[in-house]
């Protein structure tokens, strides 16, 4: 097992990893920017190293500083959390070269899945259904237009180096395609450093369904069921649940098996999530894979009883999957609400000092947070303040428990999305399980519609 682990992240996920390390009796090193000097992950870790000024690019994303911190504290493994360097293949490689285990899949796999068009091709050759679209990236505008016409409008132009909802552009009419193609390439170049784009059929009114997987370094990959993450605003997830109200158990089993099989062929290890769009007719199409632990992993943990983060550490140290987790069984229903420091109506960020903080409790309630009374939510990082997860014997009970939890969650001093979550949980379509990715439009301010 590892001698010492450095957590290359901050906020609630750093605490989550700390938690797993504690259970495994592994000493921890926290890294922090100057803005996080008093953060909980810094206080709770065994050692801590300041790695830069507040900006993410200068600190948590600064590979030399993170690696240096790992060297001077003599760690033998790094857990990258989510975001930041978690899907940076270069970083994973630098870790390898520095004789530090990167807790995640291999750099090659990270690289393949990071290039979205290549991931598509891999998925297709592994037998996963993909969204009809171009075979790879297209440089030429005319060829792109031809492919778009073949696929049939509406289409989506996607940046190959994008992901997580960024770098995508819809085109509904053939006459708008040429201009949209140029703009999309420019935007992609600006945002991701590469103008490469590919074209896919636009799935209208989709639902977002993703499968959680866990693999070891001995060739075994298991799936841990799916999560429904359809409630999104501008492609950012706000609420996730498992199981999906839209899938029946036969569909779950067959797609889960397909996903696990495909990843075994690729030699996937550690945690990962395979994302699909579900069309109105029920067809599932692979869109991308995330080679990291995800924000919404607690939903799966509550339903299966597995500890995904602890398992990540154990398989990274060489353990066999069957020795660290039970073959997953799915019990009950779990919902997660992401509480962000944002205005619940305008979504304007609301950083600042929290003046009162009281987390909910009771049966089936879990709260993952790095926030506390008197904590300062800095403006430099994402706006996630806390995750509330409610588990019940069925969806009805999970919803009831979540409503109670939201009512009992007191956060003052900043604005949060709790009021919005209350609205979602009270909405009849949500309660009926009847929604698609356009669901949140009904709560959007007039200007956005």
């Amino acid at each position: 097992m590892f001698r010492k682990i450095l957590i290359a992240n901050r906020g609630e996920i750093a605490l989550r990893v700390l938690c797993a390390c504690r259970e495994l009796d592994i000493p921890t090193v926290a890294v922090f920017s100057e803005a996080d000097r008093n953060a909980l992950h810094v206080r709770f870790a065994d050692e801590a190293v300041c790695i830069g000024p507040p900006r993410g690019a200068d600190s948590y994303l600064n590979i030399p500083h993170v690696i240096s911190a790992a060297e001077i504290t003599n760690v033998d493994a790094i857990h990258p959390g989510y975001g930041f360097l978690s899907e940076n293949a270069n970083f994973a490689e630098v870790c390898e070269v520095s004789h530090i285990t990167f807790i995640g899949p291999s750099p090659e796999v990270i690289r393949i899945m990071g290039e979205k068009d290549r991931a598509r091709q891999e998925a297709a050759s592994a037998g996963l259904p993909i969204v009809p679209g171009s075979a790879g990236v297209i440089e030429d505008e005319n060829e792109a237009a031809k492919i778009a016409a073949e696929i049939g409008f509406p289409v989506m132009i996607k940046a190959a180096e994008g992901g997580g909802g960024r770098g995508m552009r819809e085109v509904h009419r053939a006459e708008d395609f040429a201009k949209a193609f140029q703009t999309a390439r420019n935007e992609a170049l600006q945002a991701f450093g590469s103008a490469s784009v590919y074209v896919e059929k636009l799935i209208q009114h989709p639902r977002h369904i993703e499968f959680q997987v866990l693999g070891d370094k001995h060739g075994t990959v298991w799936h841990f069921g799916e999560r429904e993450c359809t409630i999104q605003r501008r492609h950012q997830k706000l609420l996730e649940e498992s199981p999906s109200p839209a899938l029946n158990s036969a569909e779950r089993e067959s797609m889960g098996k397909l996903v696990a099989g495909a990843l075994m062929r690729v030699g996937y290890s550690s945690a990962g999530t395979v994302e699909f769009l579900r069309d109105q007719d029920g067809s599932l199409y692979f869109i991308e894979m995330n080679t990291r632990i995800q924000v919404e992993h607690p939903v799966t943990e509550m339903v299966t009883g597995a500890d995904l983060v602890k398992a990540q550490i154990q398989v990274a140290a060489g353990a066999r999957l069957e020795d660290v987790v039970e073959p997953p069984e799915f019990r009950g229903h779990a919902i997660e609400c992401r509480i962000n420091a944002e205005d619940p109506e305008t979504f304007m960020p609301s950083p600042g000092r929290i003046t009162a903080f009281r987390t909910p409790g009771g049966p089936g309630i879990r709260v993952d947070t790095a926030a506390h009374s008197d904590a300062f939510i800095p403006p430099y990082y994402d706006s996630l303040v806390a995750k509330v997860i409610a588990h019940g014997r069925d969806r009805h009970e999970a919803i009831a428990r979540m409503r109670g939890a939201l009512d009992g969650f007191v956060i003052e001093g900043i604005r949060t999305t709790i009021p919005l979550h209350r609205k979602i949980l009270a909405d009849p379509d949500f309660v009926a399980g009847r929604f698609d990715t356009g669901f949140l439009d009904r709560f959007a301010p007039a200007a956005e519609k």
Binding site: E34, V42, R43, A45, D46, E47, A48, V49, C50, I51, G52, P53, S59, P64, H65, I67, S68, A69, E71, I72, T73, N74, S98, H99
Partner: protein
């Protein structure tokens, strides 16, 4: 009794560097982690980071595996370092009276802080003499130490011209971003 109190509060309000250092020693002697005092507009809080915040040469286990180049050598250096190195820092000194905003700077001069994470070396190589000693005059841009990071020896330059009034680090000690390395009293300040 009242007079004594007033005297106390006066001396705390005009607390200077030496008194703060004595307070730190007091905390060390009595094993205190945190000390906070406030009166009127003036507030000072001293918090020892303990082993959680800064790195102590003595606490890093000396690995004999030698997986990484130079690790054994570095570990030896650390072992040789004096274990009662200054390991208390002043965290969050907040003289809200406003007059002490650059107290540190005034007393010691300008701080040269580490721009990177790594290991501090006082000399260009083992056995060579140190780049600077206490009391030396340095010019802006002059190399005053090395911070090794990822096998690269980074030369750290002074950002001020003046006299070296304090050397914070011990040779071979790990260094984090922003950690004070030297205090340079600028030449034009008496």
């Amino acid at each position: 009794m009242r007079n004594q109190k007033n005297k106390e509060s006066d001396s705390l309000v005009s607390m200077d560097w030496q008194e703060l250092e004595r307070l730190l020693e007091f905390m060390e002697e009595h094993g205190l982690e945190e000390f906070e005092y406030s009166r009127g507009d003036f507030r000072v809080r001293l918090r020892k980071p303990g082993s959680g915040m800064m790195l102590h040469p003595g606490t890093t286990p000396i690995s004999s595996e030698g997986q990484r180049n130079g690790q054994a050598e570095r570990a030896q250096r650390r072992g040789a370092v004096d274990n009662d190195a200054d390991d208390g820092t002043i965290e969050g000194v907040q003289p809200e009276a406003g007059r002490n905003t650059s107290k540190e700077d005034q007393i010691n001069g300008q701080l040269v802080k580490s721009p990177i994470v790594g290991t501090y070396y006082e000399a260009p190589n083992p056995g060579a003499s140190a780049f600077v000693k206490l009391g030396d005059h340095v010019s802006a841009g002059q190399v005053i130490c090395i911070v090794e990071a990822m096998k690269l020896m980074n030369e750290i330059e002074s950002d001020a011209s003046g006299k070296v009034t304090k050397i914070f680090m011990q040779n071979g000690q790990p260094v984090e971003y922003g950690q004070p390395l030297f205090a340079i009293q600028p030449a034009n300040q008496a």
